[in-house]
Amino acid sequence: MDMKINKMLAAVGVSSMLLGTALVGCSSESSGGGENEDGKTVVELAGWGSTPEEEKLLKETIASFEEKHPDIEVKHEVIADQYMDVTKTRLVGGEAADVFYLDALEAPSLIDTGVLEPLDDYVSEDFDIEDFEEPLLNAFKVDGTQYGFPKDFSTLSLFYNETALEEAGLEGPPETWEELGEYAEKLTVDEDGDGQPERFGLGLSKELARQFYKFQPYGGQVVDDNGKAAFASEEAIASLKPVIEMYQEDQSAGLPSDVGTDWGGDMFGQGKAAMVIEGNWTIPFLEDNFSDLNFTTAELPTINGEKATAAFTVAYVMNKQSEVKEASWELISYLTGKEGMETWTSKGFALPTRKSVAEKLGYDEDPLRQSFVEGASYAQPWQAGKNLPTIMTNFDNQFISALLGEQTLEEAMQKAQDTANKEIESSN
C-alpha cells in the first residue's frame, strides 16, 4: 500500500513541478522598461549590431546621456539577426523595447499598423526640428505626424582606385554614366584570358536599393500613386539597361559573388573591382582592413544628365506600449539632439542628419566624405510606401536572372512587377 501512495505522490509531484515551471514561464513580464531597484527609470533601447567601433561610440553617447539624467538607466540590447522579424514579433507579444531603430524602408508599413507613438506632442522649442535635413525627416512622417527622428544617414558615392586609374591612363572620376562605362571597360583586367576577369572595372550591387535612384532621371518610379510596383515602365527599364550591357556584353562589371566576396566594399578592397558605388560605411572598413589601398570618392556620375544618388536613413522611434514614455522621449531627444548626434557621428561612420552638426564636424570639407555630404541635397531616400518590402523581394529575385541573361530585362521586370502587385492585392 505504501508503495502505491509513493508512486502517486511521485506522479503528482512531477506533474505539479512541471505545471509550476510552465506557470512561471507564463507569468507576464512588463513590456519594456520600468523601475529598477535603485528607483531609477529603466529605458530599453534596441538596435541591430554594427562594428565594435560603432558600438563603443554608442556606449559613449549613452553614458553621457545617463550622466545628464541620473534618474534614468538605459538598457541597450543588440538584435543580432533578422532585426525586423524579431522586432515585429516582440511588438505583437508586447515585449518590444521602449525605443528602437527603424529603417526608413520599413517605416511606412510599421507606422500604418499604429504601434508607434506619435512624437509631435513631445517636441519642444529647444529640440529645433528645423535643423534636420527635410527629406530625411519626411521619411518618418505620415499625414503630417512625426513618428521618428533620423539618427544618421548615408548616401552613395563612387569609390575609385586611384592607382588603377593612373595605370590605365585615366584622369579624374567619370562625370557621366556613359563615361563610367568607358572607364570600366579600360579598367577591366583579364590576364589569363579565360573570359573571367581578375579585376572588374565596376563592382555592382544587384539590389533594388542600389538601383532605384536611377529611375527618376529617366522619369520612371518604383511605385505608382496607389503604392503598387511600377518599375517595369519603359523609363525604368531604360535606366537599368546600361548596367545589364556592362555586365553581359562588355563584361566590365561584376557582382561581388562572381569573385567570391560578400559585398562591394570587400570586392573593392581586395582589388577585384577598380570602382564601386557604395555608402560612407565603406570608408572606415577600407581604412581598417586595406590600409595600403590608394582610393578616393567622388559624387556619382550623372544619369541621363541629372545628378542622382540614394539616401539611407534610420530613426529612433518609440513603442506605443511603453510604460516610460517621458523618459523614452528624453533618450530620443538626446540621441537625435545636437549634443548626442555630435558624439554619435563624430567618427564619420554615418553622417549627421542635423545641418548644424554636419557644419560643426566639418564633413563638407573632408576629402573622403565631401561627396557624401554633397549628395544629401539631391539624394532620394530609400523608401516607397508600405509595400516596398514585397516589391523589393520580387525585383531582387528577377533582376538577377535578367543580369545573368536567363531572360530579357523587359520580361524579368514585367514578371517581377506582376508578381509583386498580385501579392500586394492578395495580402490586403
Binding site: 506533474s15 505583437v92 510599421l110 536572372s401 536567363e406
Partner: protein, 324 residues
Amino acid sequence: MDPMKKEDHSQVFQKRGSKQKKQPRRPKKVRSKAFKEGFSGYLFMSPTIFTIGIFVVIPILYALYLSFNDVQLLGGIGYEFIGLDNYTRSFDDDRAMIALKNTAEYVFIVVPVQTCLALLLAAALNSNIRGKNAFRIIFFLPTVTSSAVLTIIFMWMYNPDGLINTILAFLQMPTYNWLADPSIALKSIMIMNIWATAPFFMVIYLAAMQDISDSVYEAATIDGANWWQKFIYITIPILKPVTFFVVVMGVIGTFQLFDQSYIFSGGSGGPNNSTLTIVLLIYQYAFKSLDMGYASALAVILAIIIMVVTLIQKKFFGEEKLHD
C-alpha cells in the same frame, strides 16, 4: 511491481479462509482498483501528455483554426473568419508554386540518392573489411554535427575561390558558382544534405543487416549464388520494411527543408527563388509579413501533401514487418 499481487501473496498464507468470504464483493473492488491503477497510469503519463498537449496538439489545432482566418497581429490582434480564402489564395500564388516545385525536385532527387547511398555504405561496412569500426564512426560524424555549422562550412567550400572549385580546376574540370547561380544553388544544397543524412540511414540499415541470419546466405552460397545475387535477392528483399522506414523518414525530412536554404540565401530563398522551399515560404509569410493565417494554411497544405505521399508509399511497399 504490482501492489495488488503483493497483497494477494501475503494473504495466501494468512487469510485463506477470510478471502473466500469476501469473494462476492470482489468484482466491485477490482473495478475500483482498476480505476485507481488507470488513474495512476495517467498520472504518470501526465508530464508527457501535458507537454505534448501544450507544445504539439494545441498548436496544431490552433494552426488549423488560424488557417481559416485573416489574422491581424500588429497593432491589436484580430481574427476574421474567411473560410477557404487562404487555401484558394495559395493556388494563385506564384511563389508558393515555385516553392512546391523546388521542394518536390529536392525530394525526388535527394531521397532515392541518399537511400541508395545509405544502403551501399551499410553493405560495405557489414562486410569484413579492416577497420570497419573506425569507418562507422567517420561516416556517422556528419549526422551528429549541427546542420547550421555544416551549412556554413559548405558555404566556404562552395565559394567561387573555395576548396571545391580549386579541386575541380586542378582536375581540369569546369568550375561553378555554387552559391549565386540560380540553376546550381539548389543542387549545392542537395549535395550537402545527401552527404549529411545518408550516414544516419546507413546506421539503420546496418543494424537491420546484422539481424539477417547467416544461414540464409550459407544456403545461397551452396546454391551457387555470387555476392551480387545475394545482395539483390536476399539482402534487399529482407530489408524492405527498413527501406520503407528510411524512405518515409527521408521524404518527411526533405519536404521540411528549411535551415540549409535559409542560411544559404540569408532567408530570401534566392538567387531568383531557386532555394525557396515551402517551409521557408511559410516562415517568410509568418514572420516577415506577419500573415499568420495564410502561413498556417500553407503549413496545413504541406502536412496534407506529406500524409498523401506517405500513404502512397505504404501502398507501394505493402505492410510487411521485419520479423514474422
